[in-house]
Symmetry: C2
Subunit: 394 residues, 2 copies
Amino acid sequence: MVNNKMYELGTKKSTIRTIFEFGRKRAAEVGEENVYDFSLGNPNVPTPDFIKEAAVDILTNMEPSAIHGYTVAPGNPQVRKALADSINSRFGMHITEKNLFMTAGAAASITICFKALSQPEDEYITFAPFFPEYRAFVESVGGKLVVVPAQPEDWQIDFAAFERLVNNHTKAVIVNSPNNPSGAVYSEETIKKLAQILQAKEKEYHHPIFIIADEPYREIAFEGYTVPYIPKYYDNTLVCYSYSKSFSLPGERIGYIVVPDTVANFEKVYGAIAGAARVLTHVNAPSLWQLVVGRCANMPSDISTYVKNGQLLYQGLVDAGFECVKPQGAFYLFPKCLEEDDYAFCKRAQKYDLLLVPGTDFGCPGYFRAAYCIKTETIKKSLPLFKKLAAEYK
Amino acid sequence: MVNNKMYELGTKKSTIRTIFEFGRKRAAEVGEENVYDFSLGNPNVPTPDFIKEAAVDILTNMEPSAIHGYTVAPGNPQVRKALADSINSRFGMHITEKNLFMTAGAAASITICFKALSQPEDEYITFAPFFPEYRAFVESVGGKLVVVPAQPEDWQIDFAAFERLVNNHTKAVIVNSPNNPSGAVYSEETIKKLAQILQAKEKEYHHPIFIIADEPYREIAFEGYTVPYIPKYYDNTLVCYSYSKSFSLPGERIGYIVVPDTVANFEKVYGAIAGAARVLTHVNAPSLWQLVVGRCANMPSDISTYVKNGQLLYQGLVDAGFECVKPQGAFYLFPKCLEEDDYAFCKRAQKYDLLLVPGTDFGCPGYFRAAYCIKTETIKKSLPLFKKLAAEYK
């Protein structure tokens, strides 16, 4: 009577949801301030004042129909020009408005790319640990998700494993850096090596293999870590961006896709993106927010809270005896569990009201994700509890 | 290399697009004020002040994270409650927040429904004239669109033709009233008859047949015409609503789906809708606009301009010798062309800079659509030109 796959996708309770409900129950019992919820990737840095000011100014001073009317399908041309100029000045690119397609955020951007590119038997490669929605999105357009096992010592890429998995069916490689959930930033060396391998594979298979760069965390990279702009290293790159994290606007659904001129058969790819956006009903990204991000294209993201929280949690975990790669970007740590079974470990952490997400959910068993986009005070108070938890394993 | 169907959908120039480009060219030559563009359904009544005031008040006085943070996937529960209360009081329904799923407008709502319901070999029935995107949306989920021929004398439903087309594969019937492009409102008698036939067919085929009520124009119904709330007449109705037209917010992408408790297997249908929204990346409709429409749920739509424009254009066309059904709702008239070939007729109208859309695009050859959501002054100035055009056929 309904599509069963959709029913399953809409009703299967996710681990994060289960943890969330446990957290709500415990908050009712012991008080909100005694629950340490590291489970959600909801930015806690307030939306910057310049965003509020831009939105209020636009609402107050512009003609309503110019704010709220339909834009052309790919988005307001002036906004796309402003964003293209900003990308050019920050990353040394040479794009124009015709290379941008405004979308309702990064998830919309990547599903549009999957829908635009997918032909029967296509495979999409991603690297563990990875954002679990990739699987639902890829399978929904009939594609197959292929996962390269993790390289836990530094969360860069296991290239030997990667090379074994690329084949003639590979349509695209999904790159997510700064990474959710590992908190790692792929180095320039990693991106160069990835580009080199893919260029060779493109020659071998006589067709383009795209990189889909999923970059909602691009602006959240810490001192000493630079996020390479992948189109500069690899021609067939589609960049999927979102303002959800950089400007703390996750609810407003605003972002874009960059399709550089260097992409093989640019017209064909951009056209297919327009068609995919149309049938996924993602033409015309929310119009007020298009205007706001157009105005604020060159404004900085305030990442100081994430820097402070990341260092505090990292040091606390290491002091408690956890193995963990240093925070590099985004707002996640991905430490090793103190027992093999990550579900059992996260269950045990709940005794201390520490809410952690098992790594298996991100394709990486034996680890856990701790999202530190929460109050600094909460992290401080949680550290003795992590110590107690670790003591159970000594 | 890309999905060719998506490429075609993204690049095939639509008739409206071609007309739009002609209009831009002519505006450059003869001046904006001498081009009579009846081609676009972009509301020209300004967004009401109460919308601006609500948005500015929310931005100024609420915590940014409460405005812009993620909502739960189906939308802010308080907003859904406010909208449910408003629907109950206006239409005598008994729904709660659990019956609503917030979306990015009516197009998103209906594609989510198609994706949620569709199983192999499903057919969707609609009535000519119809909104042409239905075909792209239905085919994109593997469904087949079946079109019931028009009943031009009153634009109600040709039930004999309809009954011949319903079969065991019919998953749903798409009802769009007030109608784009005919401007007709389906009467209570029409809806009752439709419900009666479908109830009999459900019994015959032993499975539910849904009505998908696509209602972006619900609030734009003129004196003497009432838009029946279809769930009151037929249990298996999903209502797809948008604030694009009623509050002149087409760019902001905000609307909802109503899934009443009376729908067969409610949990299954609502669950599938949640799954479809997830893979179409339509969870969490734009959060500021959720709050705004929640506050303004009971505010009136100002339709006075459409009433005035509709009457003026209707009278002018009739005086010029056109056959046309009286305006009932939305902001479209759908008169008979003065020659059989509607493309040739609309082409000839362009000589007078009258931009009209051929009815063939809406599955109804021999007619044309005139959207009167434009300046009243423009309509006044256009009437002598319609007379000249008509004179060519005398």
